[in-house]
């Protein structure tokens, strides 16, 4: 075969291969789908949030843990949280709390360490302190006003009641 024809065949085969090329999970979606679909709110302003897991057809009842990391690659797992009961069969969600501002990543695993879900990302963004303190001092001012008002009026009412009863006794 002349070199030119060989070159054309090679290029054609290469194009054919490229045409059929697919990611592995696209060729066999049923086997690559993780057993649980994990979801979470994108943003939390308070540092607490709820993770929700939906069991797919391949999921079985088993104890689960939520892995937590500060990077999407999970190069270092900061903490694991046990899921209540026998996994999603008993409860479909877990409430986590006490997180500082920043990016937080979570995924599900079983006791053997097999990863069983997608990775979810939660951005914690606490309210600015000036805003919180503004409301705090507004509340404090109104509260002091209310207490003073109740005590002053109660004293006045008590004095009036005593003077009225004395007046009635004199009559």
């Amino acid at each position: 075969m002349p070199n030119r024809a060989r070159f054309v065949i090679h290029i054609s085969l290469l194009l054919l291969i490229t045409l059929f090329a697919r990611p592995a999970f696209a060729l066999s979606p049923s086997t690559a789908e993780p057993p649980y679909a994990l979801s979470a709110p994108e943003v939390s302003r308070e540092g607490y949030f709820v993770l929700t897991a939906q069991a797919q057809s391949s999921a079985s009842a088993q104890p689960l843990w939520v892995d937590y990391a500060t990077s999407a690659q999970f190069s270092h797992i900061s903490r694991s949280y046990p899921w209540l009961g026998q996994g999603v069969a008993d409860f479909q969600q877990i409430t986590l709390t006490g997180f500082t501002s920043g990016d937080h990543y979570f995924r599900l695993r079983n006791a053997a360490g097999d990863v069983l879900s997608n990775v979810v990302h939660v951005r914690v963004d606490h309210y600015p302190l000036w805003q919180a303190l503004g409301l705090f001092f507004a509340g404090l001012t109104v509260f002091i006003l209310l207490v003073v008002l109740i005590i002053a009026n109660h004293r006045t009412a008590s004095r009036t009641k005593i003077s009225q009863s004395k007046g009635a006794n004199h009559e």
Binding site: S80, P82, L84, T95, G98, L135, L140, L146, N153
Partner: protein, 475 residues
């Protein structure tokens, strides 16, 4: 900690406990109810409640799902400020003490908080007030019914709907038989159970999980919970105070007690009830701080209290937790059923529909209302629509708007009905806007501030003076 948590009780034991308590409370309610001869006996316990029962009912009614389930929830979510802030709700009872004395003085023959608003501010303010009262009463009733279901689910894995239905059935049962007399008597026993149980749980918890390990765990993995400048928690602090004040100042649960207490008992009873209540949320809230150390991360935040207690104390502990929380729920649910049915009977049926109704007719209608409210609450509890904290704090936007109109209404002759209605309406609206725009932890604060400003304008502009003699209405 790499350990999955199992249920502390099996579901049969959970159901058996519910059945035993149900039979006991209903039998007790029936026994006490035999003394009720008139509507006044049924609705206001003959206006003859002494100091010990009065203080106990004030404290026990205020210890509710709020304190036993929501205080741990808010501590789990907002940290140290959650439990400290929650305990400040005791200020509601303490500051209501002088108001109760004033209520008893102004309306010795009064029945409900609705009576006061109608006589003091007129029809427009009465309608706004009734909407707020009904929304709040239903919100609280639903949260209590939900709490019963959540409690049994957390401790025994029993279906939410079974626990919720059981507690509603029991409370409707004994309130129906005994009226306010049964409510106050059961509150006294429930108050004793709550105090002993809560102290016992906290004692065992500190003994099992030391304060030092809890602090280390929180500092490392949940630092925000120990931060005294945690923004959402700082916002929550005064919000919770105003929510508590609004709940107590407006609700007929507390007005009916002020009117039922004998002579000058009301002031001292509310003061003592508040002081007894103050440490309870600190203790129940503290339980939640141990959750991360014990590896407990609940499905919903309102389940954390019972789960931690059951984990630490085992099966016996779970039974103790069950009895304490069940008592707390029952002591509030019965009070709310009785007070709300009084409000409907007196303010709608007697004052609007049948002014000539006989005493026995009122008694019968009151009982129908209790049963009807029970059924309505059950229907609203069926879908578990929100967490307890979120549901309760939604009501905060409504009730906090009533604080200043009620205080000024009781003491100042110049605030008119128009400004009172505007203050409550606009305060509620502003509170709801902030609830959805910012969060549950600011709704009551915003509502109260807006209402206070409108009342201040009303006092400044008004030239008419209310005649206190107009409050003296005979039944």
């Amino acid at each position: 900690m790499n350990k999955a948590t199992d249920f502390a009780l099996d579901s049969t034991l959970g159901l058996s406990l519910v059945a035993i308590f149900g039979v006991l409370w209903i039998a007790f309610g029936w026994y006490l109810g035999r003394k009720n001869k008139s509507h006044e006996d049924f609705a206001l316990a003959g206006r003859n409640v002494g100091f010990a029962l009065a203080a106990a009912t004030a404290m026990a009614t205020w210890v509710t799902s709020n304190t036993t389930l929501v205080a741990p929830q808010l501590t789990y979510q907002l940290g140290v400020w959650g439990m400290v802030g929650y305990s400040f709700a005791a200020l509601g009872l303490i500051l209501f003490a002088p108001l109760a004395a004033r209520i008893k003085h102004l309306m010795p023959h009064g029945y409900t908080s609705g009576d006061f608003i109608r006589l003091r501010f007129g029809r427009a303010a009465w309608w706004v007030f009734m909407v707020i009262s009904v929304v709040y009463a239903m919100g609280w009733l639903v949260s209590l019914g939900m709490a019963g279901g959540i409690l049994l689910q957390a401790l025994s894995g029993l279906d939410y709907h079974i626990g919720m239905s059981a507690i509603l059935l029991i409370c409707v049962g004994y309130t129906l038989f005994g009226g306010l007399r049964a409510v106050i008597a059961t509150d006294f026993i429930q108050a004793l159970i709550i105090i002993v149980g809560v102290v016992g749980i906290a004692w065992f918890l500190i003994d099992t999980v030391s304060l030092e390990t809890i602090h280390t765990e929180l500092s490392t993995d949940h630092p925000q919970l120990l931060d005294l400048l945690f923004p959402a928690a700082v916002m929550f602090l005064f919000n919770n105070i105003f929510f508590g004040l609004g709940e107590i100042f407006h609700s007929n649960v507390w007005w009916s007690r002020a009117l039922a207490f004998k002579g000058k008992v009301a002031f001292k009873a509310f003061m003592l009830g508040g002081l007894l209540w103050l440490p309870i949320p600190i203790v129940t809230g503290f339980i939640a701080l141990a959750a991360p150390q014990l590896g407990i991360f609940p499905p919903t935040a309102d389940m954390v209290g019972p789960m931690v207690a059951a984990e630490v104390l085992g099966k016996v502990g779970a039974i103790v937790v069950f009895i304490v929380v069940f008592s707390a729920l029952a002591s509030s649910l019965d009070s709310l059923l009785a007070a709300t049915s009084d409000l409907v009977t007196r303010d709608f049926y007697h004052k609007k529909l049948r002014p000539a109704a006989s005493d026995q007719q009122l008694l019968r209608v009151n009982r129908y209302c209790i049963a009807g409210l029970g059924v309505l609450t059950w229907l609203l509890c069926l879908p578990q629509i929100a967490t307890l904290g979120a549901l309760l704090n939604f009501a905060g936007a409504f009730v906090a708007s009533t604080i200043f109109p009620i205080v000024f209404g009781l003491y100042q002759r110049r605030l008119t009905g128009g400004y009172a209605a505007l203050a409550m309406g606009a305060g509620t609206f502003a509170g709801l806007v902030s609830y959805f725009a910012i969060g549950f932890y600011v709704a009551a604060l915003v509502s109260c501030v807006v209402s206070a400003l409108i009342c201040a304008v009303g006092l400044w502009r008004s030239r008419t003076l209310f005649n206190w003699q107009d409050m003296q209405e005979r039944a």
